[in-house]
Amino acid sequence: MTPLLVFQRISKSFGAVRALRGVDFELRPGEVHALLGENGAGKSTLIKVATGAHTPDGGTLMVDGEVHDGLTPALAHDLGIACIYQQPALFPDLTVMENLALRLEKPASFARVRWTDRRKRAMELLAKVGAEILPDSTVNELSMPEQQLVEIAGAVGAEARIVIMDEPTASLTRREQERLYGIVRALKSEGIGIIYISHRLEEIFALADRVTVLRDGSSAGTFDVCDINEGELIRLMVGREVTHLYPPPLGSPGEVRLKVDHLCCHASGVEAVSFEVRAGEILGMAGLVGAGRTELARILFGITPADAGTISMDGRIVTVRSPSEAIDEGIAYVPEDRRRHGVVLDMSVAENVTLAAHRRYFPGGWLRDRIEAGAARDAVERLAIKTAGIDAPVSSLSGGNQQKVSLSRWLATEPKLLILDEPTQGVDVGAKSEIHALIRRFAEAGMAVILISSDLPEILGMSDRIAVMGGGKLIGILPSGSAAADVMAVALGQSGTPGKDIA
């Protein structure tokens, strides 16, 4: 039997970041093939290669035994490749029928719309996937699982033979999941191959025939599901060598700097989070994407203020309702989205460095060029920022150096609590270890540091303690020196893990 889809040594780089380093993958007809991996292991990139959104740099891609060099989204669609994303990609203001028609019809520009045919077709497809949805309802009236069903109906209608599902059950209830499983099994019985991406291990064992584990952009192996257990899968996902040395912690942490008690924010889905960070301590925050870590940071920094619970700094309860109040309380936040939030790309290095600490540098509210230049030169020297000059716009710097500018902006405020959100994402290896050394130095200087990262080795290497979040809650706090598998197991919600200590 010819495999539906074959990847041979597929590689893809984005600048200096190697997202895929020669991945082998194969999908057979009538198979559910699970794709498993940590955040950033390369799953999304792999999907985008399969749907033609990314062109691989190297390797061979075969569909039905035929080699395709220049796969485009349109060609992928014609070849019967469909992808159902976690967030359904439908037009919210159009009806279900119109959305399906947009996927399935290829009319001439001024062709007459045949509404009766459209409606009939839509009803057939919806019935086929067992959806009780009226073709005339607009998409924004539908629930998330209903929208997913519309997506699946679209894939069925396009006679897709390769269906990719990206975490389809992430927002579904138990019963909706069961129904989705039923549909997946029905598709499978028709000989359709399904690539199924999920973080939930139990789902993989319930549904998949085979599983491929991705790690650091390479395949860590493909297995029949019946030949492998959960423990082995977790080990495969995280089992990499620590590639570089992390700076060692020095001394013992001081007084409790930040104490968070039953912090809630309904709008961002954070529920009853309580923990402490001491001066000089680095608290790592692990968890899957969407676990609520960035949301927690945004609460602490006043961007989405809390609606219940308390934040105390140095034993004093503080109110943080805006970033400027957070700055006044000595809280600094280096955000995840560096280019949009962390720096102002069109402004100079000097202007960026003094932006948050203007009260310190420019008392009275008037700019002082000499003080600004001094502060900027200090920052450039202290953090070894590579730039043509302090007047160069930040957009002319590399990612790692932009990140250092973002860091130096907050160091200038002399914070008591430094929250770092994915500080080394998209940063090359050299700058990464420099940033790690800097973070440890800030902690030694007496700052309390919260380090949010999806890079598990970074969390393990840097943290004095590791907090694990999931679903907007703090699931557990693990001590320094915990094994990667333990952290992963807590994050994935596996029970009976040793070392689990609910704070």
């Binding site: 970033p323 400027s324 102002v344 202007e351 932006l355 008037w366 700019l367 043509a388 902006r409």
Partner: protein, 341 residues
């Protein structure tokens, strides 16, 4: 010397303002040459007279004040279409306060400025408070303020006969130059300090470049936006006083259409409508180029014969603006072409 992208960016800005200065000098010399003549009695008339130059200055003060008010707003990537309507409203408020209420100037002037500030606060409340788009909000207040002015006068009342001390503000000279020029210079210096030398001015640019990034840097975006729109209201009120004093009358249709001249001057001056980039110096040059063009055309014999100064100045102002935009795009276009190769 190492090539620095920062200095390149500055060079481009510098070049834009230099370009404007060259345009200004060239048009001035052209009008001086073709628009100046001697009449039958041997008296020099037209462009090359001091009176005419002062006239240009007087005219540019009102549009100039509005353009200065608009500069920080456009730097935040906002817009205020209501400035000229607010000017009209403030003129009427001033007329009613002095005539109907009978207040002395020492009370009527501050109260008129307050009215301008309140008008700006209406814009600010909707834009900074409710985060509504500035274009729509000020399109609304553009009609609202003008409508209010017309309602207050029944569309017919014209306030005249202001005290001569007040008229001197618009028609007299202080220290040899038109009196309102001093107000204009004062506001210009203040605006320059605000935009280029103050922390608030830096925040204004940050908001224009990256509104979300500003919030993450601890900038109080709402407060900054409130400030620039209220300030624009105050400056519009000052422009209303100057306008009323120059014409010696306050009418509901005062300064109709001035907002478009003011926006043109700001954009011509190199301020990006997308926010962040721009300068007060550029705005001043933009105002000067437009004012000299409008006035100078009216002195050309051929234009006088055809009686078409208004139309021609519209045509040339529009052409100049588009030309400046294309020139501003050139570096980007050139680099795009280079990358493609």
């Amino acid at each position: 010397m190492k090539f620095s992208a920062g200095s390149a960016w500055r060079r481009i800005l510098f070049r834009h303002e230099m370009l404007l200065l060259v345009v200004l000098i060239v048009e001035w010399l052209l009008f001086l040459h073709f628009g100046t003549m001697t009449n039958r009695r041997g008296v020099t008339v037209g462009f090359g007279t001091l009176d005419r130059q002062f006239d240009i200055l007087r005219h540019s003060c009102e549009i100039g004040l509005l353009a200065l008010a608009l500069t920080p707003i456009i730097l935040t990537a906002g817009i205020d279409l209501s400035v000229a309507s607010l000017l009209g409203l403030c003129a009427i408020v001033f007329g009613q306060l002095t005539h109907d209420v009978g207040l002395p100037l020492s009370l009527a002037i501050p109260l008129t400025l307050l009215a301008g500030g309140l008008g700006g606060a209406v814009n600010a409340g909707l834009i900074a408070g409710l985060r509504l788009p500035p274009l729509i909000v000020t399109l609304g207040t553009y009609s609202l303020f003008r409508g209010l002015a017309e309602a207050m006068t029944g569309g017919a009342v014209t306030y005249t006969q202001f005290p001569s001390g007040f008229l001197a503000l618009g028609q007299g000279r202080w220290l040899g130059v038109p009196a309102q020029a001093w107000i204009f210079v004062g506001v210009a210096v203040g605006m320059w300090m605000l935009v280029h030398r103050s922390v608030a001015g830096r925040f204004i640019r940050v908001i224009g470049f990256a509104p979300e990034g500003a919030q993450y840097a601890g900038v109080r975006v709402g407060k900054c936006l409130t400030f620039v729109y209220v300030l624009a209201g105050l400056v519009s009120a000052a422009a209303a006083l100057v306008y009323t004093a120059r014409l010696g009358q306050a009418k509901a249709d005062a300064a109709v259409g001035y907002e478009l001249y003011a926006i043109t001057a700001v954009v011509l001056g190199g301020t990006s409508i997308f926010g962040g980039k721009g300068s007060v110096t550029g705005t001043l040059l933009g105002v000067a180029v437009i004012a000299v063009l409008k006035n100078g055309l009216a002195t050309l014999p051929v234009v006088i014969r055809m009686n078409s100064a208004e139309e021609l100045s519209g045509l040339l102002t529009g052409g100049l603006l588009l030309f400046a935009l294309v020139i501003g795009m050139l570096p980007k276009l050139l680099s795009a072409v280079c990358i493609r190769r």
